[in-house]
């Protein structure tokens, strides 16, 4: 079942035929027609909230004087730490972030107070009238030395320290014929969603609150919000509305606590919507990583030793930092390659540099950038082709993962590598003339699905037939642009043979089934698992009921578009069936744990594994050092494709996000202050920077594989960065190890090389 036989390879393209088209909501989203939570401006009695944020990166809070603000026109409520009804803390892993700071602010953007007023301008005016007295404290800005500086929280600034070891790395390094040692740095990337953080909190009239917000896990948010609001969980509900992007940046609570407190105080719905300045300053970012890697091999290129020493800057509060560190560590072991001895250590530290947390790739892509760069450096030193070096050391499909854990691939790594080495991008491009230097580079990455490492990870779903005759599928996931609704619809249509108009997908209701968070590339796996559990029996019930109503044998009936068919003729439509079936006869519910390796007491890493090899072709301007990525070719092995538009969107979109992190995106800080405040300074790629892309799928998933569908939300970002820097090196001879690539530094290096030759 898991042989290394050649897999089928296909190039993905959107099929514009009737069955292949993206779902309707995709066009609505592109046209700006989809209502986001921050579009709910016509709610009766709506008040507008605003948050007062610290303008100091680190300070004692001596006084917060709200007296003037309370008397301002249109102001209904002003709240501070004293007004938090319950727990004044939140955080998915560690509840260390205050809703409103009590006696200390820890980053420029920390929340101090909030106001609800009739208009946004009145709310902002009241915020401006709140007087805050600070006593500045020394700013902890250097992550490397943070643990030796005054602690931001109880204990030290070292929030977590992890190590993964195998064999004796010192001994192994001593035995290496070739060793390379380099330092790598990655930027503080911003999610840059279209719709900034926002939503509305609505009092339910019975002391409870309903949140309509952009978020990633309504059920988990309910738990935290109930504690903050001092309400029973039954009195808090969340509707995760279609939102303009999240990418991890809406995994934590954002505006919900302040909006909820204000809604309870005023008895009216309160909307808070951060403007771009506030979002840039106070929003979540990707962890900047500084990592030193020492990697060695024997004279024939067999990897023997690998040492990693990394520091991740989590900023003022923990958020998902510990889990990001874990995923970074896992990827830093070089999971695709056989290495007998490694020692990977990572430290996660608090600083006053804003907030870092979940972000597509989740630490993994930072590690893969360094690992793949190390392999290129070794190949260079050995005088060996980088593809050949990788092939020598690749794990086979039968081998366990780098931490000795069972892993489940959908294709042999060697097959993916072979396909990558056969990419047409290796052919010389058009002659570029004297000005443009061209080069092609490759990188390989692996990525797992699910929360991993034995963290509680489960979820449920629900299936029913509505009175209107639509097949309603309910999950707790949020749709933030990935079009999971399209993928679910396609899965139901494929399984039942019905039409897409027969399916109604309901997502993100905390009153509905809890499917777990919309993160960790886990949704598609859960959807497939849960539908596989619910659909067979539900379909049998459907047929049995239809048989009872029509007098035809159930085994001769088949669901199709609009109803059930007998020998190609529609016998009864779903609506009629829904009207005549007993109540609740057509309701199915199921729950399941996220798949982990069998037979492991405490699961290690992630069981369901995906691969991507990305080949990048770049042009580097010899005059200026600027880099243009012209082509990206991705070879993916991520199971069966159920929804090609979604698959393409995820891989290509994530790759452009990775391109941004590689070439232009960074939010530098100075003395804890963000140095970019809007999208005219923080430069994300535009469509003009987006390269031509090709996505190939290697699918060698066995017919009887219980997990043939994998989540690909993060896969596209995994290998794009090292592929681009490898291509830059091929073009210029210069290896870049600090991101984003500085055209200035590259130009100076190009000039120095020209001078040498």
């Amino acid at each position: 079942m898991t042989t290394d036989r050649p897999a089928s390879i296909s190039t993905l393209a959107v099929d514009w035929g009737p069955e292949g088209q993206p779902g309707d909501t995709l066009y609505q989203r592109i046209d700006g027609q989809l209502d986001y939570p921050t579009d709910l401006l016509n709610l009766p009695g709506l008040l507008h909230g605003a948050i007062l944020r610290s303008d100091q990166a680190h300070a004692r809070l001596l006084a917060v004087d709200t007296r003037v603000a309370r008397t301002m026109p249109g102001v209904h409520s002003v709240v501070t730490a004293e007004d938090v009804p319950g727990l004044n803390r939140f955080g998915i892993v560690v509840r260390d972030q205050p809703v409103f700071c009590e006696d200390r602010v820890r980053y420029e953007g920390d929340a101090i107070a909030a106001v609800a007023a009739d208009t946004p301008a009145q709310a902002r005016a009241a915020i401006a009238a709140i007087r805050v007295e600070y006593q500045p404290l020394p700013v902890v800005e250097d992550a490397a030395s943070a643990e030796n500086q005054p602690a931001l929280h109880e204990g030290s600034n070292l929030l977590a320290q992890e190590s993964l070891t195998r064999g004796d790395v010192d001994q192994a390094l001593a035995a290496c014929a070739v060793v390379v040692e380099h330092e790598y740095r990655t930027p503080r990337q911003m999610h840059g969603f279209m719709e900034t953080e926002g939503g509305v909190a609505l009092p339910d009239g019975n002391g409870g609150v309903l949140f309509r917000v952009g978020c990633q896990s309504g059920h988990r948010d309910v738990e935290q919000l109930a504690d903050i609001l001092a309400l029973p969980r039954a009195q808090v509900s969340v509707e995760a509305m279609t939102t303009g992007g999240a990418f991890g940046g809406k995994d934590e609570l954002t505006i919900q606590p302040a909006a909820g407190i204000l809604a309870l105080r005023t008895g009216r719905p309160v909307m808070i919507h951060l403007d771009r300045f506030e979002s840039c300053r106070s929003g979540m970012k990707r962890h900047p990583v500084a990592v030193r890697m020492t990697t060695g091999c024997d004279a024939r290129g067999h990897l023997l030793a690998h040492r990693v020493d990394a520091v991740l800057d989590t900023g003022a509060y923990a958020s998902l930092g510990p889990a990001v560190l874990e995923n970074f560590m896992d990827h830093a072991t070089a999971p695709l390659y056989r290495i007998d001895s490694y020692a990977v250590t990572g430290r996660l530290v608090y600083t006053n540099n804003g907030l870092c947390g979940a972000f597509r790739g989740f630490g993994g892509n930072q590690a893969t950038f360094a690992v793949e760069s190390q392999l290129d450096a070794l190949a260079c030193k050995l005088g060996m082709d980088p593809g050949e070096l990788r092939r020598k050391n690749l794990r086979s499909r039968q081998e366990p993962g780098s931490r000795g854990q069972p892993v489940r691939w959908t294709a042999a790594p060697a097959t993916v590598l072979d396909a990558a080495l056969a990419s047409p991008l290796w052919q010389p491009g058009n002659p570029a003339g004297a000005r443009w230097l061209t080069g092609t580079g490759l990188a390989f990455g692996a990525q797992g699905n699910g929360l991993g490492d034995g963290l509680p990870d489960s979820g449920g779903g629900r299936l029913s037939l509505t009175p209107e005759g639509r097949i309603r599928v309910e999950f707790g996931f949020a749709d933030y642009g990935q079009d999971i609704a399209g993928a679910i619809t396609r899965s139901v249509c494929d399984a039942l043979g019905c039409g897409s108009a027969d399916v109604e997908v309901v997502l993100g209701q905390s009153r509905g089934p809890d499917s777990g968070p919309t993160s960790a590339s886990r949704s598609s796996v859960m959807v497939h698992g849960l539908l596989s559990r619910m659909l067979p029996e539900w379909t049998q019930t459907l047929k049995r009921l239809a048989a009872e109503l029509t007098g035809q044998p159930a085994e001769d009936l088949a669901p199709g578009t609009g109803g059930l068919f007998l020998q190609g003729r529609r016998l009864i439509d779903y609506r009629e069936l829904a009207g005549k079936a007993p109540p609740d006869a057509l309701v199915a519910e199921a729950g399941q744990d996220f798949p982990v390796a069998p037979g492991q007491e405490t699961p290690v890493g992630r069981y369901l594994q995906l691969q991507i090899a990305t080949i990048a072709r770049v042009m580097v301007d010899r005059l200026t050092g600027r880099v243009r990525v012209t082509d990206l070719h991705h070879i993916t092995a991520a199971g069966r494709v159920i929804y090609p538009p979604g698959y393409l969107g995820q891989i290509e979109g994530a790759a452009v996000m990775g391109l941004g992190m590689t070439l232009t995106e960074d939010m530098p800080t100075r003395k804890g202050r963000m140095q970019r405040d809007n999208l005219d300074q923080y430069l994300m790629p535009t469509i003009g920077d987006a390269p031509a892309q090709r996505v190939d799928v290697v699918d060698d998933t066995p017919e009887n594989d219980p997990y043939p569908i994998r989540g690909i939300g993060e896969l596209g970002i995994e290998a794009v960065t090292p592929a681009i820097v490898s291509a830059i090196e091929a073009a210029t001879g210069v290896r870049v190890r600090t991101l984003p690539v500085s055209p200035s530094a590259l130009l100076e290096a190009i000039q120095a090389r020209e001078a040498q030759s």
Binding site: A128, L623, T624, R628, G688, S744, E748
Partner: protein, 256 residues
């Protein structure tokens, strides 16, 4: 830290009936002129400081918007939008390098609002080319009943005078090179934009971007010193400018 949030709502927009009245209003109130607003608004928003009054310029005033042939070249109204400039048939004839270059100037929305005059007053992307072309600025001042004319190089925005139009010499037989270095391919502020113009006799070079707009007059060997003195502090950026200039000059010489 927080600006008075109502400032923006309270801006008084003065709408003079004539250009002369605009100049007088600007003088008496000290209020800035505003055309497309695409450059000034983000600055005011970022600084959290909005002017109390602005003098709105009217593209309907004769000669302020549009492009026409003058016999010696082109007259470009200061309120001609960047989008109109990029698409105008006369520009395609007189400055065929410009339409393609305009793709790299801001984005479509900004080109729809932003004006040629506004771009030049802010030292924007067009400055290098217009300086190298020896463009002349037509301007109105409150102490002279006549429209005056002066080289763009000597023009100082913010002295209360009002730019009405630009004259560009007939460059149809000239060879022109134009390059922009931004942070990304599109919609980026200019790090450095350089222009080389050869009128058949002499080569004129100019630059704009992070170091400000300037005509460059030194020989190739002294260029680095000239740029440093002109405010270009980043050595790698100076290197890029010099390499772009050398490339354009070679290109022009090769065509010749």
């Amino acid at each position: 830290m927080q600006a008075d949030p109502t400032q923006r709502d309270q801006i008084r927009v003065l709408r003079p009936a004539t250009p002369r009245e605009a100049v007088a209003l600007a003088k008496t109130t000290g209020a800035p002129y505003i055309a497309g607003g695409s450059g000034l608004q983000p600055v005011w928003e970022r600084n959290g400081s909005w002017p109390r009054q602005i003098v709105a310029l009217n593209p309907g005033w004769p000669g302020f918007r549009g492009i026409e042939e003058t016999g010696q070249g082109l007259r470009v109204g200061a309120l001609t939008t960047l989008g109109e400039l990029a698409q105008h048939p006369l520009i395609h004839r007189y400055l065929p390098c410009l339409p393609e270059f305009m793709d790299q100037v801001a984005g479509p929305g900004v080109r729809h609002l932003g004006t040629v005059g506004g771009n030049l007053c802010a030292g924007g992307d067009l400055s290098a080319l217009f300086l190298a072309l020896d463009a002349q600025v037509h301007r109105l001042s409150d102490d002279d009943p006549q429209e005056q004319c002066q080289p763009l190089e000597d023009y100082s925005a913010g002295d209360g005078t009002l730019m009405t139009a630009l004259s560009i010499p007939d460059s149809r037989q000239w060879r022109i090179g134009l390059e922009k270095l931004g942070y990304r391919e599109r919609f980026s502020p200019p790090r450095a934009t350089v222009a080389c113009v050869h009128d058949g006799q002499t080569m004129r070079r100019a630059v704009c971007g992070e170091g400000g707009p300037a005509r460059l007059r030194s020989s190739e060997t002294d260029q680095d010193t000239e740029l440093t003195a002109g405010g270009w502090q980043d050595p790698a950026l100076r290197l890029a400018i010099q390499r772009m200039l050398a490339f354009l000059q070679e290109d022009i010489a090769r065509d010749h």
